[in-house]
Symmetry: C2
C-alpha cells in the first residue's frame, strides 16, 4: 500500500518532483501554512524546519495522521482530520496553502478552490501538484511500443472529464480527470493568478542518477501549479 512507496519511506527526498515543487515555494519563514492531504506529515515538518510560524496538516486518513503526529515533535505543527470535499477553513488565515497529489481525487474542485481562496491572507498563495491530465485521461493507461521499439503513451478520452478508476495501490480508487484548461480556468475564476505551470519531467541531473526515468520525458506524469492572489 501507500506506506511502502518510496515517497512514504524516504519522505520528500523520495518524491521525484519534490525539487521542482520546492523551487516554486516562497521563503516559508514566518508564514502560516496549510497542507491539504498531508499524509505522514513530511511536508509539514519540512515547513516548520524552514521557519514557518504555524503549519496545519489536514488529511482524511486517521491512520496517516496518527503516524504524522507520532513523528512530529515541533509544537508549531498541528494535524487535523478533514475531507477536502467539504473542507472548512478559517478565513484569511494562511499565507500558503500547499497540496501534493491530492486534488485529482476531488470531485468538487471549484468548491475547494473557493474555500482556499477565502482562507488565504491578502497576497497569499496556493501551490500544488496533481497527476497530469495526460497521465490520467487514457482508457488504458499503459505504455505501448512502436515498430522501432519507441514508447507510446496511448492517449485518448482527454476531453471526456470525470471519473477514472485505478487499481494502483488499492482496488477501485476513483480519480477525477479534468483537462489542463479546466484546472487553470477554475483557478482563474476562483481569483487566483497563474504564476507558473510545470509539467514535471526529469532534469538532465535526474537522468544521470536515474537513467530509467527517461521514459518520463515521453509524457508528463505530474502537473505543478503555482498561483498568486
Amino acid at each position: 500500500g501507500y506506506s511502502r512507496l518510496q515517497r512514504s519511506v524516504e519522505g520528500l527526498a523520495g518524491a521525484a518532483e519534490w525539487p521542482a515543487i520546492r523551487a516554486l515555494l516562497p521563503d516559508l519563514y514566518g508564514l502560516e501554512v496549510a497542507d491539504l492531504g498531508c499524509g505522514f506529515g513530511w511536508f509539514c515538518r519540512w515547513a516548520a524546519e524552514q521557519g514557518a510560524a504555524g503549519v496545519l496538516g489536514l488529511d482524511v486518513s486517521d491512520k496517516m495522521l496518527a503516524r504524522a503526529r507520532a513523528e512530529t515533535t515541533d509544537a508549531r505543527v498541528r494535524y487535523d482530520s478533514a475531507d477536502l470535499e467539504k473542507l472548512e477553513l478559517p478565513k484569511a488565515s494562511f499565507d500558503l496553502v500547499y497540496s501534493s497529489l491530492a486534488f485529482h481525487y476531488i470531485e468538487d474542485f471549484a468548491g475547494l478552490l473557493a474555500t482556499i481562496r477565502r482562507a488565504l491572507k491578502p497576497g497569499g498563495r496556493l501551490i500544488f501538484s496533481i497527476e497530469h491530465p495526460i497521465y490520467m485521461a487514457p482508457r488504458q493507461p499503459a505504455w505501448l511500443t512502436d515498430e522501432d521499439g519507441g514508447r507510446i503513451w496511448p492517449l485518448n478520452s482527454y476531453q471526456i472529464e470525470g471519473k477514472r478508476l485505478t487499481n494502483w495501490l488499492a482496488e477501485g480508487v476513483v480519480k477525477q480527470h479534468r483537462t489542463m484548461g479546466t484546472t487553470l480556468n477554475l483557478l482563474i475564476k476562483s481569483g487566483f493568478a497563474i504564476a507558473h505551470v510545470e509539467e514535471w519531467s526529469p532534469s538532465d541531473e535526474d537522468l544521470a542518477l536515474h537513467p530509467d526515468w527517461a521514459i518520463e520525458r515521453e509524457r508528463p506524469m505530474f502537473l505543478l501549479i503555482s498561483t498568486r492572489t
Copy 2:
C-alpha cells in the same frame, strides 16, 4: 495547398475552433487591432465589421497579402509584409493583438512576446490559437486503433521541445513544439496574465452537425489562450 482548406475557402466559418476563439474576444468597437499571420485577411475584415477603429494584418506570405488586399475594401484595414521571427511593432499602439495558428511556427517565441507586450496599450490583450502541443509532440502523429476498435493518439516526445517536421500541405514545414507549461510560463514572464486557456474540442452542437468530429475529443488539436495585461 493552404488555399483549398475549408478555412481558406469559407473563412472564419470554415474553422471549427472559430466560435471558441470569438467567445474569448472583447467587443472590438473602437479598438486598434493587429492580426499576426493574417493570411487571406478573413479575421481583419471581420474585425472591421465589428467596428474596430483600425486593423493591421501582417503576414510573411506576399501571395496571401495580395489576395487579402484584393478582397478588402474597408480603409480601416491595412496589410503589411512581416516575418514574425523579427517583428517590429510601434509601441503602445494596439488594444488587441490576435493570432490564429501562427505562433507554433515561431522559433523565438520569447522575442515575439516581448515585441507584442511593448506594442500593447495599457490594458491591451493578446488572444491567440496554436496547434496543441499534444497534437504536435508525437514522433508519428497518426491515430492508432486498440483491440476494442477505440482510437489512440500515440503520444511521446512531449517533453522534447523543438523542431517538428510535417508534410501537411507542403513538404518539410517546420513547427516548433513547446509544452503547455513552456508556452504559459513564457507568457507570464513576458508580462501577460493568463485569462483563459481553451483546449478546443467539439461541443455537443458541433457533434450534432459533424458526427465525424467525435475523434477530436480523444485529444486536443488546438490550444486557445486569452491574456490580459
